[in-house]
Amino acid sequence: MSASLTFTLDGREIPFAPGQTVLQAALTADVYIPHLCYHPEFKPHGSCKVCTIKADGRHVSACTWPARHGMVVENATDELDDLRRTLVQMLFAEGNHFCPSCEYSGHCLLQAVGYDLQVETAGFRHFFPVRPVDASHAEVWLDLNRCILCELCVRASDEVDGKHVFGLSGRGAGKHLIVNALSGRLADTDMAATDKAAEVCPVGVILKKKAGFRVPIGERPFDREPVSAQAARYAPRPPTRRREED
């Protein structure tokens, strides 16, 4: 393996392995780039666009853009943070996100990235979509109000669990998460609380029952430390079954 592959990110040398994307390399080097739909155990998706960087002057998604030797990357600039702030605002306007009453507060990546980027308002008129809650399943419930359409649950269920419980349907602003059952109810699938799909949601759409508030508000990962200080936590790794830290 060539030992000397590097690119510069905001002036700092970042080493990378062949095949790594800019985001993967940065996180491996404990350098933070804001992101939402990326998960360390999955192939980068490139849909949220919060990780948009400027690579050699061109706006691209850091999570999917292949690292190249000698590349010059801009990341923590006012221009890019402005863009990211707007994208996060768009997600807050699109869904129904009520942080104060959300069980996932403090675990939620959207909330954490929002705080980190100092998002104070949604900035746009709220869509107030009607998205029902599915509490039919004995172990897991779905609050679709929070969905940011990152497809992580779809991917986890397909690729790790082999169950194909979730899918996306519709397009444009009508795009939404669906459950793969004739009834459309989670109870009529073979979903289990131990599934990978039950632990990957970055925003608390998929929550385990009888486990709410097990970790008190104030002691959760993003209560303790901003997400930008936890870059290494997102360094790419092979899929594992359960994370013990939460």
Binding site: P44, G46, S47, C48, K49, V50, T52, H59, S61, T64, P66, L83, T86, L87, M90, L91, A93, E94, F124, R125, F127, I148, L149, L168, G170, R171, G172, A173, G174, K175
Partner: protein, 446 residues
Amino acid sequence: MLLDNDLRPGDALRAALARGDLSQVEQAANTRSWREANVAPPQGPLATLNEIRTANLRGRGGAGFTTAFKWESCRNAQGEQRYVVCNADEGEPGTFKDRVLLASHADLVFEGMTVCAYVVGAGRGFLYLRGEYRYLLEPLEEVLARRRRDHLLGRDILGTPGFSFDIEIHVGAGAYICGEESALIESLEGKRGIPRNRPPYPVTHGYLQRPTTVNNVETFCAAALIAARGGDWYRATGTAKSAGTKLMSVAGDCARPGIYEVPFGTTVADILDMSGAGNTQAVQISGPSGTCIGPDEFERRIAFEDLATAGAFTIFDGSRDMFEVARNYAHFFAHESCGFCTPCRVGTAILAATMDKIHEGHGTPYDLDEIATLDRVLNQSAHCGLGHTSCNPTLDTIKRFRPAYDLHLKQLDFEPAFDLDGALRRARQMTGRDDPGAHLATEPEA
């Protein structure tokens, strides 16, 4: 040139197959040593590729990518099987030239695909037919069947050992986004039509992750003409940077709408004349993802170096409200966004809602600034061209037809999109109240 061509089925292929050896000798004489040129792989396909390069053919789907470069990249890509895909998902509002080519010049389309297969070394091809054009399926299948009988498709085409290629027609389901080549390939594979992350590009990782050449219907037709008549012949028409002719789908406020084939370099004014348009206020070039121009720009030319276009040419006369035109296009993009990426999924919906707010008389100059911001966000971060261009019709019309907007705007700095007093309507009903205390002022007090 294209519409009045007198090629018979197979002419272009015969010319391509015949070209091989002669060009090899010429190249040897003109370039390096005879020996060096001679050790190269069989020259037949490369000779045709050279003609395409000489012709300076560029993609007719709007982006104008150099066809020879695309074919060569596909030819040189590693892979056990290569594919040729014809993008007949003609979905840009205002364009209908591919429909005419498929209905009246299907042989030329298939011939161009077969020439491409010969050049890149592909064994299979797909025609991705727009869902709305399903009625063309049977006639197109008949043409394919006839071409198979005539040995213009199938195994050992025209008796050439190893030159085997066949074409399958895949009918789309009516999504605009599938005109984007990587979304089209996803759809071909039976998946949702969502543009892929690029790189890698289809020339190396296309259909089934194998090297794939995707071209527009008109590009294949032009390629067939070039294979038959040569690159120099083709390049003699058009401008220095834009060779050949362009099919224009002329529609809207004119006496003679229809398909016009014009050499590159033709001015907008010329096309307006030909089609009998009068009192023209604006022309939308290349559909909503293109450019909207006003009368002071009608001397501009149809060419890659000036007004690049996929062919849509939509004429609006003085009776049209250009704000409403832009609002309609904004709704089109919001409807057709695939919903994959945040900026496009949410941004196109916000744009459409903002245009509705202006339409309903609640718009202010602040909203126009917001649209400029949206445009920047979409251009910097959207996943594909749909998002990048979705604000174009609005921005173009704000720039050129501002009075149409001012008619709808309030002269306040800002007004909320929601009706504060209206929001209390239900509460008033429930409490049976309608006194002044149950109402909120919506206009700020002076």
